[in-house]
């Protein structure tokens, strides 16, 4: 098992992502996996500071500065694990030896219920590609009725 001190600094993945920042959350679409994710503000901050140079504890300090509230390094670790799980990090992170205690429930138990509000959260969002693929056919696709086509017109046997 690696020494935590030797663990590579977390780096946010840059390639193949579309990012849209909204008011209090950040949406990320993975162009390779065709998955969409929603990062709450804490997760988005953690991701923002994953520059490959900043350690987990330093990220915690930076977020403390932005949010004006104490941030436990385990909160950052919890966010990083979610970002890793959703393929939003470049660096391979090694799960901490005490990683078993990094569930949302464990953190709330340890840090108090009030901390739940500020916990990082990465959730899945319905991906447009999957929906569009399942709801209508693109131009040139075989069709029998107009309703099958995204364009609404089935000309002969193909969608326009």
């Amino acid at each position: 098992m690696k020494n935590p001190a030797q663990r590579p600094m977390p780096a946010a993945r840059q390639e193949g992502l579309l990012v849209r920042e909204l008011n209090d959350e950040t949406l990320v679409y993975d162009l390779h996996r065709h998955k969409a994710h929603c990062l709450n503000s804490t997760a988005a901050l953690i991701w923002k500071y994953c520059d490959g140079q900043t350690s987990e504890s330093d990220i915690a300090l930076l977020i403390e500065g932005e949010q004006n509230t104490p941030v436990h390094p385990d909160v950052v670790r919890f966010g990083l694990l979610q970002l890793k799980h959703t393929h939003l990090l470049e660096t391979q992170m090694t799960r901490t030896p005490s990683g078993a205690g990094l569930s949302r429930r464990d953190l709330i138990k340890r840090l108090g219920a009030a901390a739940a509000v500020g916990l990082p959260l990465v959730t899945s969002v319905l991906a447009p590609r999957a929906v569009e693929a399942s709801t209508c056919l693109g131009p040139g696709a075989s069709c029998t009725v107009n309703a099958q086509c995204c364009s609404g017109v089935c000309a002969g046997v193909n969608c326009t």
Partner: protein, 360 residues
């Protein structure tokens, strides 16, 4: 403005309008309605691509924001925000390819309309409509096919039914808007608004989002907006544009007080707004012709079963018929225009018949 109480016959349409009122603004008023009403309208909002705009209003109403339909609208908003990011990605790709081919299209509707909203994801769009010079059409089609991927890039050789101006005229007045670091050529604000108005009425105003586009275009115009250019010299066509803007005022409370169409907005023909509200009860393209047609007319030459029912389905909407025959938007009955459109369509059908029969 119409209230749900004032027109019980168009209750759903009126509620729809109430939810989308001012929704294109940066800070619209918090929405006041019950959870049950929002739940009732949810399928219509989501199915007509208005869900993100509904969320924009719901987000400032605590009891709605946390309600199940409110949370669903928030998901719709996220979905469309991502979808719009993907569309913008495609726009950049297709414009780069077309630029390399020496084609500079004008992007109409879609992104051009969405950029006037506080966030582009609030105004989703399906197609990416690109207008090119007729002589560059086939080149542009090939380029769009390379770049479009699974998303639909719709190339037009001129603005066709959307406008009566030439491509060169529109191009000369067009401007360049920025999509991140990419230049996107869009219509001038005057031409953009006119095209939105014509497109709206050409399609019976069945999608409420299109009326929001008009509200956004009118309220975001610059002080030097050239109304003469927007309305044009042709009196009847100018009135069509004025009526469309008037609808945005009457149904969505778009601010028109300081415009030349303010008077017209207050005197719309009595059949117009109720007709639009009726359309909003089923605001889907699936509910519009030609999707609603059961079969091509030529099919009934071989087997006339179902012809009468299908003819009934083809009876044109009063708005569409008025636009089709170029009639005036006044208080006179609409049926002569509806008959006129049927005759026009029948004539086209007869003209195409020999070819259709040869094909069979």
């Amino acid at each position: 403005m119409l209230s749900p109480q004032s027109r019980p016959a168009n209750r759903v349409g009126s509620l729809f309008g109430g939810i989308l009122t001012h929704s294109w603004r940066r800070s619209p008023e918090a929405l006041e309605c019950s959870d049950a009403t929002l739940a009732e309208l949810l399928p219509l909002l989501a199915g007509s691509m208005s869900g993100a705009l509904a969320w924009w209003r719901v987000r400032n109403t605590p009891h709605l924001r946390a309600s199940p339909p409110g949370l669903e609208l928030q998901e719709t908003y996220r979905f469309h925000s991502i979808r719009t990011a993907l569309r913008e990605h495609t726009i950049k790709q297709v414009l780069a390819i077309l630029s390399a081919m020496g084609v500079e299209p004008i992007l109409v509707k879609g992104w051009a309309a969405a950029r006037l909203y506080p966030e582009p994801g609030l105004r989703p769009y399906g197609d990416i409509d690109l207008v090119v010079r007729p002589e560059q059409y086939s080149t542009a089609i090939a380029g769009a096919k390379d770049a479009g991927g699974e998303y639909y890039v719709d190339v037009h050789d001129g603005v066709g039914h959307l406008d009566d101006r030439s491509f060169d005229d529109l191009f000369e007045r067009s401007s360049v808007a920025k999509l991140d670091d990419v230049d996107v050529r869009v219509l001038s604000p005057e031409d953009h608004l006119r095209v939105l108005c014509k497109h709206l009425l050409h399609h019976n105003a069945f999608r409420p989002l299109w009326l929001c586009d008009i509200g956004a275009a009118v309220e975001n115009r610059e002080a030097n907006f050239d109304w003469d250019r927007c309305l044009g010299r042709h009196k009847r066509r100018a009135d069509l544009v004025a009526c469309a803007i008037g609808l945005a005022h009457v149904l969505l409370d778009a601010e028109v007080a300081d415009t030349p169409v303010a008077k017209r907005a207050a005197t719309l023909p009595s059949w117009l707004a109720p007709n639009v509200l009726k359309q909003w009860e089923t605001p889907y393209s699936m509910s519009q012709a030609p999707v609603t047609h059961q079969a091509p007319m030529s099919k009934y030459l071989r087997d006339p079963r179902g012809l009468v029912a299908d003819l009934r389905r083809r009876w044109p909407n009063p708005i569409e018929a008025t636009v089709y025959v170029g009639g005036p938007f006044n208080e006179l009955p609409r049926w002569p225009f509806q008959v006129g459109e049927c005759v026009g369509r029948a004539a086209r059908f007869v003209a195409r018949l020999p070819r259709a029969l040869r094909k069979d």
